[in-house]
Subunit: 307 residues, 2 copies
């Protein structure tokens, strides 16, 4: 089943202990859609500037991602500059230029309307809600957010949470949103705000799925997927969005959302996150193949299973 994703398509300048890249293709919707495209059809809603050219377009086309919802606006694309020199687990933002994103008004192409899965990547919750409301027929809605929206745009964010089935955030965001440092208690508080499932990402330690007790055919109550211990992290940019793409893309590829499907989705999320870190920007995701993905899935099983 097809996924529609709304979020940023951007240029990133990135510095890590492994080196530096100027203005490589980035943005949450980019990483998400590349990762999800290995599992299902993906359709993107975003805005880019006049600096978005055939070379960037080709990255999406090579993965057969539908870009009819990527609007071209006058001006420059969203730009982010960050450094991981001090801490590979957390970017230090050096510069953010919203550019065409400042006046982004998501427009949903008619051809996207039969999407059964919707992913609201990390953008202004007012825009997330607008897209959510415009697609009432979707089967499953997942979303992401960040500390900025949790802290200063809580009312708008709470409206979004009411319309989410799955929220994917990191430890610090979960604790901030709940106002509770205990992860189990925080997860319960966050789920009380709307999403019946919560995925908390722990960076290099993996991720945990929290889900309420439900009848057969639903997700397990708690499930933990590891991250792959990597010999070298070249660039962690987009790892969380790639996790979301693997996770949600796999769910969308399943005819039934059984507990086993949710568990495997967590593993595929970790798999895609691990690949994203292996090269700068989207380089690794662009070159990936499904057999490589499934081989790594097997590595994750070996890493965690007793027999």
């Amino acid at each position: 089943m097809a996924i529609t994703v709304v979020g940023s398509v951007a240029y990133d300048s990135i510095e890590t202990p492994a080196g530096r890249r100027e203005r490589c293709l980035g943005g949450a919707a980019t990483y998400f859609s590349l990762a999800a495209s290995f599992f299902t059809d993906v359709r993107v809603i975003a805005v880019v500037g006049e600096d978005f050219g055939p070379e960037q377009e080709a990255v999406f086309a090579a993965r057969k991602i539908d870009t009819r919802g990527i609007e071209r606006a006058a001006g420059k694309s969203f730009f982010w500059e960050g450094s991981y020199l001090e801490n590979l687990n957390e970017a230090q933002t050096r510069n953010t230029e919203l550019n065409v994103f400042a006046s982004f008004e998501p427009k949903i192409p008619g051809a996207y309307r039969d999407s059964e899965f919707l992913f609201l990547a990390n953008i202004d919750p007012v825009l997330q809600r607008r897209v959510r409301d415009a697609m009432p027929g979707v089967k499953l809605v997942a979303g992401d957010t960040m500390n900025y929206w949790i802290k200063d745009h809580r009312a708008a964010l709470r409206e979004v949470l009411l319309g989410l089935d799955v929220l994917l955030i990191n430890d610090a965001e979960a604790r901030m949103l709940a106002g509770n440092n205990n992860l189990v208690q925080a997860a319960r508080a966050v789920r009380a705000l709307g999403p019946r499932a919560l995925v908390v990402k722990h960076g290099e330690y993996g991720a945990t799925l929290f889900h309420e007790s439900t009848p057969k055919g639903q997700a397990p109550e708690v499930f933990r997927a590891p991250a792959l211990p990597l010999e070298q992290v070249i660039d962690p940019t987009g790892a969380g969005d790639s996790f979301a793409g693997g996770f949600f893309g796999y769910l969308a590829s399943q005819s039934e959302l059984t507990p086993a499907a949710w568990r495997r989705a967590m593993f595929y999320g970790s798999v895609m996150g691990s690949f994203a870190c292996e090269r700068f920007g989207t380089e690794r995701l662009e070159q990936l193949s499904r057999p490589e993905i499934d081989a790594r899935f097997h590595v994750f099983r070996e890493l965690t299973h007793l027999d």
Copy 2:
């Protein structure tokens, strides 16, 4: 097979968000031996003062732990006071009184000499090495250490590492010992110092076993055990030592150290660490039963396994 453990038996005063306890029974050798006693025979080498009475002795006796190697010396027992008010993942030490521990000279009872497993809990590496050298016939030696010894007693510590099969330390200690922030590279560097297996404990995120590629019958290369997401952490004191006790106790109970046995040992370590956090001090370990342990082992399997 029996385990001999050398380390501290102490009194702890502990403050956590859940409350405060004065002078409860503590010490690395105490937690380790209680946890390991559910799997195999345990023999303790330590020193206590005149304040160590029948009530404390009874805690060991109830678990059939051999205390003939616990020397009674004139003076007071080792005392530690710490707080977890700011961070449940890391104690802030308020006070340490070495007392009788300052002049500890480990003496190994003749009845301990046929122990096939030896655990060197976190004490002065000079003492760890002395005990190691005095028991050349042991089959498997594991040990722990801490930042203080890594930073200021590195030469003595390196002597100990040469005699270890398994080292159990936390993330920060592994990175400090290796001088490398990448966990995979740090693990390789630490194993090059002696121990063929390294267990890195990640606190609330679990633990990772690193082991060199070995023929069949040895441990897997990398294996990650989760920690249990706990609704309430009452007191994390001793969780790492309890992990070590469950891990090493389980290994000692096995007739053959197959890869599957090493994997299960990691799970039993996490199981015992999770119990230790549920009450103050050793309270939970004292009241535990083997069926409860195996039930939680099953919970850990559910938490991590795809099917």
